[in-house]
Amino acid sequence: MRQVLSRRDFIKISSTAGAGLMIGITLPYKDRLVAAGVVEQTFEPNVWVSIHPDNTITIMAAKSEMGQHIRTSLPMIVAEELEADWSQVKVAQADAHPDKYGSQGTGGSGSIRRSFTRLRKAGATAREMLVQAGADKWDVSKAECIAEKGKILHVSSGKTFTFGELAEAASKLPAPEDPLLKNPRDFKLIGNSMPGLDTPSRVNGTAQFGMDIQVPNMVYAAVLRCPTFGGKIKSFKSQKTKKVNGIIDTFEIDDGIAIVGKNTWAVIKGQRALDVNWDHGDFANWNSKQIRDMMEKKGAGKAIVAREDGTVVNVKNDQIISAQYEVPFTHHATMEPMNCVVHVKKNTCEIWAPTQVPQRIQTTAAKYLGMDVKNITVHVTLLGGGFGRRLWADFVTDALQVSKRTKKPVKLVWTREDDIAHDFFRPTSIHKLQGSLSKKTVNLWKHRVVAPSISGQMAPERFKNGRLDRSAVNGASNLPYAIPNVLVDYVMTNTEVPVGWWRSVYNSQNAFANEGFIDELAEAAGKDSFQFRLDLLKDSPRHMGVLKLAAEKAGWGKKLGKDNGMGIAVHESFGSWAAMVAEVTVGEKGTLKIDKITSAIDCGLVINPDGVKAQMESAIVYGLTSTLKGEITIEKGAVVQSNFHDFELLRIDEMPKVNVYIVKSAEPPGGAGEPGLPPVAPAVANAVFAATGKRIRRLPIKPEDLI
């Protein structure tokens, strides 16, 4: 049942979109201050917008800013419907709240997709109330007034009020239950590249990341964890650590030994000086080769079917093509290592965290401390990269324990070495593919995905009865090509190596396999790989759209030098479609240079085009790192790599020319942060094949794969 609520009702209602829009959040305490003349009345029609008497507008961002300019594009949506003047707009970061803002989790390229309608409504609600307030003041009908550039205009007389001038009056009106949304044709902000609201702070050192938080009386902490997965502490000697200047204490916590000191340098030195006798556990006998052997063996056994179309047996007269693709574990490598500041007080707790999941941090802390969530404050700082790593709360549980014990605010810092050794890695995977051609058309496609399962590691009991982990076949089971007989299945091969969501999750591995193998089928059929794909994508217009756009812009089919090659790939993920053409040069000695990536994306209606472009550029670089480098290997049950000398990232001198083209679309917004990644590796691999005739079926590409 719908009802109109006054702003004093204090009741959370769901908007018609079911998105948890809150009406009437103004606090009685604040009302008293207003009445007493202590503060001026701010107009807060809902949790997202506050309009102040000084005519500034604060828009809440309840998603984490990690470089995707979400703190610019979310306010754009509200400001669009509100008819605000962009120069009035400021953004504020929401603290964690169990339900005020809906989910504050930032991941799955979902921030725009999942906020679009509710933020439009929030802006429109405020606009309608301001228009009403203006009309009331002029004593005219609402229909005679419009909102425009931060003002309410009485059209026939030309009289105006600023939003600020109407803030108080508007705050006394009931919120409309179903505000009118603008026709997208009339959008003024949406679809334009707006300067990033956080950009100025990012060029003068004032941007505040988790690492930069300093609170009075704060101590610093590092944690030494067992390098071997599943290992434990037997005993440790801290004499040498305690001698380090600035060390306050060392003690055992759940995940290792905490070293507490007066500054970061002290705890880093103290960590290095600790003398620990580890029980390395059973996994200490494992290495990458054994993991691979285990996966091969299990991969030949029983699999769980994810998709089955047609019949997969009747192909005996066909030409059969088989191949195996392999992808290693890899690491997130956010430039800002894991960290947070935690202050456990008597009955409350305050946390500053660069996190993608403020609410998970809040519930984790509440559970750990035995406190009510309302006593846990979580401030979300800027994130120095996220990429899925900061969907975990592990670095906060460390700090909770240290702060509880020391009774002080604690800044917990992971060194780069800690960050690499104790990531939740992108799962390694093996892909067994088989296809058949009958009269040069594809008759059969079989794809077996063999990989550790992220969900299966988190909640093994859920998968006991042979349940499918759908996520692991993302990008494999939704193969878009029109092939009559398709079988996609999955074999779960979990190990002690922690696995997690890494930019585009399983799409990164599955797209490499799909798009490499479809190229192999094109070759077997003797067809051009672009045309071959198009022929199989007749019923998938958005795949075709990006594929054609990328091919056309790249000049597909143009004449190339003898060391050069061009490769193409297309993939849909997170509600968007992306295609890429890579151009490479392969030298005689196995040197590989990526010359150019031409990319196209269809992510539906675009809010901030330059933001989408930047995300594509970013996904391409991130994807190139995992195509050319960025392998995590295991020796004696632990990660081999330790810092950027052996976990290398792409550098500026390896940066290809990158062009991004965005498909014009009025479809609902799709994701932008991840969809650009999956096509990168296969486009490059296919380009290498075009240049050398060598198929790349394993990442990262190594010089020996090229000669």
Binding site: T199, V203, M655
Partner: protein
Amino acid sequence: MPKFTLYVNGKTHRLNVVADMPLLWVLRDELGYTGTKYGCGRGLCGACTIHVDGEATRACMTAVENLDGAEITTIESLSLDNSHPLQKAWIAEEAPQCGYCQSGQIMTAAALLKRNPNPDDADIDSAMKMNLCRCGTYGRVRKAIHRATEDNG
């Protein structure tokens, strides 16, 4: 504990810290200049780049004992109002993504432009290649440096 005198961004600081403390932690923990970032602590990423007597230097690899009396410049001194040509260019190109590496990128670029006011792509690549950016802003960093030189001249 030994005493050191540091000149940071034109201010004199007297410090009571251990001799081997890297400048990075002196700046961040002791003096509150948090614009200079920790990325690797081993001279491998460039996030901590500052200037010592005008030279781009890795603050994580430079112990305070070697800096007694040196002139240190951090991102905070380029200009807080973003009026420096590099800052203007960075903003115009929307170069930063998460921003974490950008202090280091800008400080390395500032040292490059001092040496070579008109770098071409190859000069930029060779000066900037030790500055890692996981967000992949390299294309825009290149463009921003070119733009800053145009702004200069």
